[in-house]
């Protein structure tokens, strides 16, 4: 007879009772955590600061007298608060994160380490340039990689994120058009585009028109050609597009756009699918942003910071923003800012941001790029595409893949909600995946596919991880097809059940108020 070392005895099953309720609300490792305003107070601090020496105030009589209302916690309480909060998050470090178009790949920790070297982390953006030569050299090296990998002519490093990069590209286009006295007013954007595309064009003062898609999920070249004319400033194309497909006609699109006197903006959010295998410069692109937090693995951090350098064709290079790094004949590096712009870069559209861009992200991205090298980056694209096609072909018998029959996908696999039981939606599948231990795929985007489910596994998933994910999604999909009601109330095992978003939007509570004040405000 073997000895049961766990202490478990069969009769214990009968002693069990419903244990879904606890006195604390905690469930073992799933710990509830109150707000800092409920556990801290304005007298507590977790930082030891020496008393200030008494001196005459120079504050101009504007001393802050009323209580600010900022609670403090001691260091152990602080560490516990945020550690507990962290455990209510899903993350790449915990598992596959198939959020299409967002590229949630592994974030190498070497990148974190080098970004924290004091020589990068503890230098001031306005330090004399002779004191920051290493930083400028790093920016120059990263710029060289980005220009070479994309086959473009130059790169603007300062944009703060992808959408900011889009703005940079569109402003350069507008500056180029204005320089030749052209006042075109319209930017064309496909219906399948990220919402940032039309928002960017509008933010830059353009009217936005749609480009229709054809049956196989790509830009309708004939319709595009018909729409082009003297009013069109630019066409914004995402390639690979948001359906996960390569725009086969990209070169023809570019040629037609150029022939009409307009420019081609490429949304580079999906560059990770083609890095090292295709250079956008060979396809006639004039400007493209690169999300360093997607293709080059800088961490998403729960919603940023990102970084969105923009590569330019020769035609747009003179209009690129300030500042940028230039290598002098003596091998030293300098910054071209407002001061020397006139002589060096007279047609620049100007400055987009204080200082020089997301240095902390440049460091991480260069670390990632050097680690992979030219050969590894090519492998990145190949494995990302292989993984996505593997998911597509492992699931297209159980989920509707609207563009599956037209050929391979790129880095993401797109499914629709066709074939689910009456009343069952993409949302139900997504929430059931949460119970299976996964972050859901991107839902209801792109808009051109009904109930879209966009799955991007990325290259940093193993085959075993993909097999388990496929098994889980098959199971959920089959339950949605047979109408398993348990799906409608999923997730059951997450820190929270489905949240009431209608209530949140109807009566917005955006800051914490003391309960008495909150009640009075009702």
């Amino acid at each position: 007879m073997s000895i049961n070392q766990s202490g478990w005895r069969p009769e214990m099953a009968e002693e069990r009772r419903d244990t879904t309720v606890t006195a604390t609300g905690n469930k073992a490792l799933m710990l509830e955590e109150a707000l800092i305003f409920e556990i801290g107070d304005t007298h507590t601090t977790g930082v030891d600061i020496a008393d200030a020496a008494a001196s005459a105030s120079k504050l101009g009589g504007l001393e802050r007298k009323a209580e600010i209302g900022l609670p403090g916690l001691s260091e152990p309480e602080t560490v516990r608060h945020y550690t507990r909060l962290s455990r209510q998050n899903y993350a790449i470090d915990l598992g596959l994160f198939p959020l299409g178009s967002c590229t949630m790949k592994h974030n190498p920790r070497l990148n974190e380490k080098v970004a924290r070297l004091p020589g990068f982390a503890d230098i001031h953006p306005l330090a004399p340039i002779q004191c920051v030569q290493g930083a400028l050299e790093l920016i120059d090296q990263l710029a060289h990689w980005l220009v070479t990998l994309t086959g473009m002519h130059s790169v603007a490093m300062s944009p703060k994120a992808g959408a900011h990069g889009e703005l940079c590209g569109i402003l350069a286009i507008r500056a180029a058009l204005e320089a030749r006295g052209d006042t075109r007013k319209v930017v064309l954007v496909p219906e399948s585009a990220h919402g940032t595309n039309p928002a960017t064009a509008a933010f830059a003062g353009y009217a936005v028109d749609n480009i229709p898609a054809n049956q196989d999920g790509r830009v309708d070249l004939a319709a595009l050609k018909a729409r082009l004319g003297p009013d069109v400033a630019a066409v914004m194309i995402t390639n690979p597009n948001t359906c996960g497909l390569f725009e086969r006609d990209m070169k023809a699109i570019s040629d037609a756009v150029h022939a009409a006197g307009a420019f081609v903006y490429c949304d580079g959010a999906n560059f990770n699918a083609i890095v090292g295998r295709v250079r956008p410069g060979d396809l006639g692109v004039d400007a493209m942003h690169i999300n360093l937090h997607k293709t080059f693995s800088t961490p998403h951090g729960g919603g940023g910071p990102g970084s969105g350098p923009v590569v330019f064709s020769q035609a747009l290079t003179p209009f690129a923003p300030l500042p940028f790094v230039e290598k002098a004949a003596d091998g030293s590096f300098r910054l071209v800012e407002e001061e020397t712009a006139e002589e060096h870069h007279g047609q620049s559209f100007g400055r987009m941001v204080a200082f020089h861009g997301q240095m902390g992200m440049f460091t991480r991205a260069l670390s990632y790029i050097l680690s992979h090298g030219a050969d590894g980056l090519r492998q990145v694209a190949e494995d990302a595409v292989l993984n996505a096609n593997y998911v597509l072909r492992s699931l297209d018998d159980v989920l509707d893949a609207p563009f599956g029959p037209s050929g391979p996908c790129m880095h993401e696999a797109l499914f629709s909600d066709a074939g689910l039981a009456e009343g069952f939606t993409t949302l139900d599948i997504a929430k059931a995946l949460i119970d299976e231990g996964y972050h859901p795929m991107t839902m209801y985007f792109p808009l051109v596919v009904h109930g879209a489910m966009l799955i991007e596994p990325t290259e940093t998933e193993s085959k075993a991880a993909l097999d388990q994910f496929v098994m889980a999604l098959r199971s959920v999909a089959e339950r949605a097809k047979t109408g398993d009601q348990a799906l409608k109330s999923a997730p059951h095992f997450a820190p929270r059940r489905r949240l009431d978003e209608t209530l949140a939007a109807r009566k917005p509570v955006l800051v914490w108020k003391e309960p008495a004040l909150a009640e009075a405000a009702e």
């Binding site: 602080t78 030569q133 050299e137 889009e166 998403h300 951090g301």
Partner: protein
């Protein structure tokens, strides 16, 4: 390749499942002329962790680290001590490697943190509400100007001469394309900020007045009268705070009736990082929330009635409203907001007020010491932790000379305002809790030699 888990056998088996003969079959949609047949020439192949670390460390060593020298740079980016636990906590994978909290059931950690952040920021700025962060102070400033345009339906903004020149530059760039009219001016080396002249400029076409507090020279002006003048003309007052620690000592712009307050949050938790990533703070009066850009986190309940948090009021944003969105911003500065929030929680009100007073008293002492150097005059009547010196010589070469002696003396106004001869002798000096009395003494004696 250490970051790629697939083996050669995996790849073969997967291609078989897909029904493709080779990986090239998956790239058939790429036009033949654009296909690359191997790794791009002229770029090195993959490298070991050790090799990469050595390469980057060598670059890092070429820079002068703030902590290694007497350091007085500010002008929109400030050096403060960040407690060790801040960096530890933001590196927890569940924060670092999470996405924007679009699936709230498994993102309550990020969401609750954002709700706490919004509340901390609103209280610090003195506004009713705050959003979940912007890229940085300069872009938040432009967003505030566009917000005022939408609210007032007027297109003329008056920018204070004390607004950070990079912020002015960003606004000028954007205004060229949007058609907004901006009234700008260069500052003068005078003791008081330009509040009075701003009041004179307000008229019936003004959408907003944008004023920095404390301003680029470190001067502090009461905003109450300015706010009243704006409101009398149905214009908005936008206040810009580039040093949030100041609000631990100074009355907040919200308390003086500013309508929108934006700020650069870098001082708390984030570090200098050569200018980015930083974190934009943005708060406003409650009645304007539907014109705010960026994300909001809001409180709600789940299906069991438990309190929880979600992203809300999303219909303002680009992913829903597309070309009619309030802004094109998508990714913001989540992890920097977390760092800001943790640092603020560690400080608490008591700590923040103490930190602010240490900054102020050390700056007062430094100003007094530097004023005794022949050829140095302190411009400001009031300041928090940053003030402007008027030197007897052009400041920029002085900064270079001091850099050669391993002293980072401050930001010369010649760097910020090239071509403005009247400002060339100005030197902006920041003093924080990280500045020691020895640092100040080193700066004073070096200045004495260089100015002699």
């Amino acid at each position: 390749m250490r970051y790629l888990p697939l083996t050669a056998d995996d790849r073969t088996a997967m291609l078989a499942r897909i029904g493709a003969a080779s990986i090239d079959d998956l790239f058939v949609d790429v036009p033949e002329a654009a296909r690359l047949d191997g790794p791009i020439h002229g770029l090195p192949n993959h490298a070991s962790e050790l090799a990469v670390e050595r390469h980057l460390s060598a670059l890092a060593r070429k820079n002068t680290v703030a902590d290694d020298v007497p350091f007085f740079l500010g002008a929109g980016a400030y050096r403060h001590h960040v407690p060790a636990s801040v960096d530890h906590l933001i590196q927890r994978g569940e924060f670092l490697t999470a996405y924007t909290p679009y699936q709230p059931e498994i993102a309550q950690g990020t969401l609750q943190m954002l709700f706490e952040f919004q509340t901390q920021v609103a209280r610090l700025l003195g506004t009713d509400v705050a959003n979940a962060s912007m890229y940085d102070g300069s872009t938040a400033c432009w967003e505030a100007i566009t917000m005022a345009r939408r609210i007032t339906k007027r297109g003329k903004a008056i920018l204070s001469s004390g607004l950070h020149p990079h912020y002015v530059s960003v606004a000028n760039t954007m205004a060229k394309f949007t058609g907004d009219v901006l009234e700008t001016a260069a500052p003068t080396l005078t003791a008081e900020p330009d509040t009075a002249s701003l009041i004179d400029k307000i008229d019936g076409d003004t959408s907003c007045v944008v004023v920095q507090y404390p301003d680029i020279l470190g001067r502090i002006g009461d905003l109450s009268e300015l706010a009243a003048a704006c409101h009398a003309n149905k214009a908005l007052l936008i206040a810009v705070v580039t040093e949030p620690v100041a609000l631990g000592a100074l009355k907040s712009p919200g308390e003086m009736d500013a309508d929108i307050v934006v700020g650069e949050g870098q001082s708390l938790g984030v570090g200098l990082q050569f200018g980015g990533p930083y974190v934009g703070l943005m708060g406003c009066k409650e009645k304007y929330i539907r014109q705010m850009p960026g994300r909001f986190c809001g409180e709600t309940v789940d299906a069991e009635g438990k309190r929880g948090f979600v992203l809300t009021l999303s219909t303002r944003e680009q992913h829903i409203r597309r070309e009619k969105a309030t802004s094109n911003i998508c990714t913001n500065s989540g992890l920097c907001a977390l760092a800001f929030s943790i640092h603020m929680t560690l400080l608490g009100e008591a700590g923040l007020r103490k930190l602010a007073m240490v900054n102020h008293t050390q700056a007062v002492a430094a100003a007094e010491r530097l004023a005794r150097v022949p050829g140095v005059e302190v411009v400001n009547r009031s300041f928090f932790n940053e003030f402007t010196l008027k030197l007897s010589k052009e400041a920029r070469p002085v900064v270079w000379q001091l850099a050669e002696r391993d002293i980072l003396a401050g930001v010369s106004m010649g760097r910020l305002y090239p071509g403005e001869d009247a400002l060339a002798n100005g030197l902006i000096v920041a003093v924080t809790e990280t500045t020691t009395a020895e640092d100040v003494e080193a700066l004073a004696s070096a200045l004495e030699e260089v100015l002699a």
